[in-house]
């Protein structure tokens, strides 16, 4: 052996010793009809932080933990509620009282699948007590139980005023006295609502109503629950989290005791942490991932090359559950802390807002998400499409569009875009606002995260759209940056003119969307945090908001006729959009390469179950565009 070779051999040998040579991976695709061991991904900035499903409402955590713990109800591929741990449920008094009959034989198990206890109605009491006990739960997931379940808010206040030790040691006795939940027997849970909550069952797929075993709390100790690991938590869901390596891998392994013996589950689901989807695409090409989302650059590369090996495997994703809106700020400040009077006066003017509503041709903006079918991303409602349906099968947002007078798309320009109308509104706004001393162009400040080329490119496209559609003499869009937290650096100091933000429903009722925009209500998320409408001073704007709020409240009051209730919400929503209080922008429909049939996954517009790896149909070979189109056609029949 030559000297040089010896040195290289030595270095390599040393390397192998120091890095430790393990056994080769047993992963990869299974044989048969589909994949048995799914390998999926998450980006590194979305690593999970918490192992207790009741102490979090972050999607990062819930996408994993929703496979480990199961609640009362599940959702199916059509987004409808189906039995989970509750085999039957209903209300007989218009939503004031809800009764859930639990299935028997459901077990809590440890990470290795060893049985620990039966899952009973008491566990739902323990779970809700945990959520509403101030000293046990530091998450922001108390709002739904507080606003829906009798006594829940009062119990939260009660525990808050107790010393931490006393609150932590509380059992369920006081809780059952104060809160509207009861368990007539081991397999029945009854909730008493504050009001006629006709949609209460759609809250059940949310984590705040999930169960927790008192025996688990006793085993780990109440003070150690929050610090539980995947090896100490108890499971009653389809999988146990057998491996958790922060920043690298999570492995879910099929729970052998899972109650649903008919469903199809993977043997294992491995979630790899990747830096970004560009690295992910490389992994997909190497066969190390079973699906990957495509960035605009990757999509263009594949689409524009007819010989690209992945071109006939490009498939369009289903919409994510978020309805994106341009939320205006009605009480904007400059960076020096002074009110931005010029902008505030302009945005309070209805013609000004409507000129933006009708005047922006957002096609190029949609192309940033979906350049093949950009108009599929057009959003013309505030509520998310597919959230709910009228009894005759009419989809709710279709009714809103009907009320707005929008027809079908011609496939060339967005339905809402009306250049001529926008120019009329622009002239009207300029006349009205000039009389009030507003100077043109009105400057709008839009903030993006610093260092993101993708965000900058999208913002630049938006700038071009404002410039081309409405003219530089009218509006000038400035793009600013924040370093790490939009909330702390932009939203709280009220520096934004608008924020484009998506809302995903907590439960299946339009109230959950429209209730975020009402005037003068503490629970209205967007009004209090983004639009700051409660600080606005323009009388006309406030009157419009009040009228909208009245319409929402009228709809809230209808609890005996769901069609009438939904129609009333649709009218309120149409009113809101006609007055351009908020401007719908986007439905997030992007492209991917995949071995997973998304049309078999849970696809609810509310709750936490869209990442539950149950009944997923997969293919060892990647799906082709043709196959997916056929599946989609069948699905929407």
């Amino acid at each position: 052996m030559k000297k040089r070779t010896k040195v290289l051999a030595l270095v390599l040998a040393l390397g192998m010793v120091l890095t430790g040579c393990g056994s080769s991976s047993a992963g990869g695709n299974g044989s048969g009809d589909g994949i048995k061991d799914l390998v999926t991904w998450e980006t590194s900035n979305r690593e999970m932080e918490n192992m207790v499903i009741l102490n979090t409402e972050m999607a990062n955590d819930l996408n994993v933990l929703g496979n480990c713990v199961e609640g009362l109800l599940e959702t199916d591929a059509q987004g409808k509620l189906i039995p989970g741990l509750a085999k039957e449920w209903g209300t007989e008094d218009g939503g004031l009282t809800w009764t859930f009959k639990l299935r028997e034989g459901v077990k809590w198990v440890d990470v290795n699948g060893n049985e620990k206890a039966d899952c009973t109605a008491q566990d739902f009491v323990t779970g809700l007590e945990w959520v509403m006990n101030f000293h046990k739960n530091g998450a922001a997931n108390t709002s739904m139980p507080t606003s829906l379940i009798k006594g829940a808010g009062e119990y939260y206040e009660y525990t808050k005023n107790l010393p931490a030790e006393e609150a932590l040691s509380m059992d369920n006795t006081k809780f059952l006295e104060m809160v509207g939940i009861e368990t007539p027997d081991d397999y029945t849970v009854v909730y008493h609502c504050i009001t006629n909550a006709t949609y209460f069952d759609t809250v059940c797929p949310s984590a705040c109503l999930y169960p927790m075993s008192a025996a688990f709390v006793a085993e780990v100790g109440v003070e150690n629950v929050l610090g539980s690991s995947n090896e100490t938590i108890w499971y009653n869901g389809p999988y146990t989290l057998t491996e958790y390596i922060q920043g690298n891998t999570k492995t879910l392994t099929k729970n052998p005791t899972y109650w649903d013996k008919e469903c199809s589950l993977f043997d294992t689901v491995t979630i790899r942490i990747i830096e970004d989807i560009t690295v992910g695409f490389q992994l997909y090409q190497n066969g190390e991932l079973d699906h990957i989302d495509l960035s605009e650059a990757n999509l263009r590369t594949i689409w524009n090359d007819e010989n690209n090996e992945y071109r006939d495997q490009l498939v369009e994703k289903l919409p994510r559950k978020y309805s994106y809106q341009m939320h205006f700020n009605y009480d904007k400040y400059n960076e020096d802390g002074t009110p931005d009077t010029n902008y505030n006066t302009a945005i309070a003017n209805e013609a000004f807002r409507q000129s933006i509503y009708y005047g922006l041709d957002l096609t190029k903006y949609f192309e940033r998400t979906n350049f093949i079918n950009p108009l599929k991303c057009e959003n013309n409602a505030y509520t998310m499409k597919g959230l709910l349906y009228f009894s005759d099968g009419t989809e709710y947002t279709a009714k809103v569009k009907e009320l707005l007078g929008f027809g079908e798309s011609d496939g060339k320009t967005p339905v809402r875009f009306d250049g001529a109308k926008a120019q009329e509104l622009k002239a009207k706004a300029m006349e009205e606002l000039s009389a009030k001393g507003v100077t043109f162009p009105v400057e709008l400040d839009y903030y993006i995260v610093a260092g993101s080329q993708n965000a900058l490119d999208t913002a630049t496209v938006l700038q071009q759209i404002f410039s081309e559609c409405l003219g530089d003499d009218y509006i000038k869009l400035n793009v600013g940056t924040y370093v790490s937290s939009q909330t702390k650096e932009v939203i709280q100091p009220q520096l934004h003119s608008f924020v484009i933000n998506g809302w995903g429903a907590d439960y299946g009722d339009p109230q959950n969307f429209l209730g975020q925009e009402t005037y003068g209500e503490d629970t209205a998320y967007y009004s209090n945090n983004y639009s700051n409408i409660n600080n606005a001073t323009d009388a006309d704007l406030i009157a419009t908001y009040k009228e909208f709020t009245d319409l929402v409240n009228k709809a809230n009051a209808i609890t005996d006729d769901m069609d009438a209730r939904y129609f009333a919400y649709a009218e309120a929503e149409a009113y809101m959009l006609q007055h351009a209080l908020s401007v719908p922008t986007l439905l997030d429909i992007s492209w991917q390469l995949t071995h997973v049939n998304d049309y078999t996954r849970s696809n609810a517009m509310f709750g936490i179950q869209n990442y539950m790896y149950k009944n997923w149909e997969t293919s060892v070979d990647a799906y082709t565009t043709e196959q997916y189109d056929a599946i989609a056609e069948e699905f929407y029949k």
């Binding site: 040393l14 972050m58 150690n224 390596i245 891998t249 909330t487």
Partner: protein
């Protein structure tokens, strides 16, 4: 020597305490909003936020918090993580990452030293010839090309052509470590090659080397006994620090290959305002830095007896 060691260790303690105090105070200077997640900021009422801050002891006077912090350090109680892994002991969070970074880092360090010095020797022997230019070209390439571009090239070549795993896997640590180790080594190899070459060429031009040649010493003997030994002394000083810094991991490489190591931890902890993790890491990194310099000094003295760490009441 003993006196010197004790003195340096005491200096290390003071330095670490100062670093820990500064980091502690800097974290307390941030607005308390950073204590909350984005969701919590939006959804919790001001009263709820205040109550959570009080429960965490963050509304106490800073002096009181600082004394409590010193007490915790003395008890080796570094508290629990708030956001990286909620409720889990900081020591446990760090411990799980520490070994991964150290294993990869040490491997890369050893490879860098061997390969870097080997390249340097080849370059020095072939000064101003093709092999020297190739070595210089490599050094310039590695320093000129942005790290992420180099890593992407390594990833594409390694995974596509050689079929190596693209991401680090604890199930398969040997093969899946190769690409991260290569990336970690790229810059260090260039560093060692560049500086060792420079020192060796300097030594080669010195009078005592010319004298040795005249006296008839063989070229190999001159290179090994004099040139390499003397040229290596300045580099030795940095080896302990480099070794200790392997524990800290590499932010870029570990992110890129999803290595569950220490690299991204400090960055993540600062962004998420995980105070206990930040403070503990500051103590660890402070200790590593000062101990590394101290060990470097000692090592240099052992290799070159001309160097005295203590002399006439002074220290280096």
């Amino acid at each position: 020597m003993v006196k010197y060691t004790i003195k340096r260790l005491l200096q290390t303690l003071v330095t670490v305490l100062i670093v820990a105090t500064i980091v502690f105070l800097l974290m307390r200077m941030l607005p308390t909003d950073y204590f909350f997640t984005e969701d919590q900021l939006m959804k919790l009422t001001p009263e709820q936020k205040q109550e959570q801050l009080e429960a965490a002891g963050l509304t106490d006077p800073v002096g009181e918090q600082l004394i409590r912090f010193y007490g915790q350090i003395l008890r080796f109680d570094f508290g629990e993580s708030r956001r990286i892994q909620s409720g889990v002991d900081v020591v446990k969070v760090i411990g799980s990452k520490f070994t991964v970074s150290m294993r990869l880092g040490c491997t890369a360090l050893v490879i860098s030293l061997f390969v870097g010095v080997f390249i340097d020797i080849i370059q020095t022997i072939n000064k101003d010839k093709l092999l020297d230019h190739i070595g210089t070209g490599y050094t310039i390439f590695v320093n000129a090309v942005p790290s992420l571009v180099s890593y992407s090239l390594v990833l594409v070549f390694g995974s596509t052509v050689l079929g190596l795993p693209s991401l680090y896997s604890t199930r398969n640590p040997g093969p899946s470590s190769i690409l991260p180790v290569v990336c970690l080594s790229l810059a260090s190899i260039a560093h060692y090659a560049l500086w060792t070459r420079r020192y060796m060429v300097d030594e080669l031009n010195k009078d005592y080397i010319k004298l040795a040649r005249v006296k008839g010493m063989s070229f190999n003997s001159i290179m090994v006994k004099h040139v390499f030994k003397n040229a290596f002394v300045p580099l030795v000083q940095y080896i302990p620090t480099s070794f200790l810094y392997t524990i800290g991991g590499s932010l870029l490489v570990e992110r890129f290959f999803s290595v569950p190591g220490m690299g991204p931890l400090l960055n993540d902890a600062i962004i998420r305002y995980d105070v206990n993790v930040v403070q503990t890491l500051a103590i660890i990194y402070g200790t590593m830095g000062t101990v590394g310099v101290f060990l470097g000094d000692v090592l240099m003295m052992l290799l070159d007896p001309r160097i005295k760490l203590v002399g006439k009441g002074e220290t280096r």
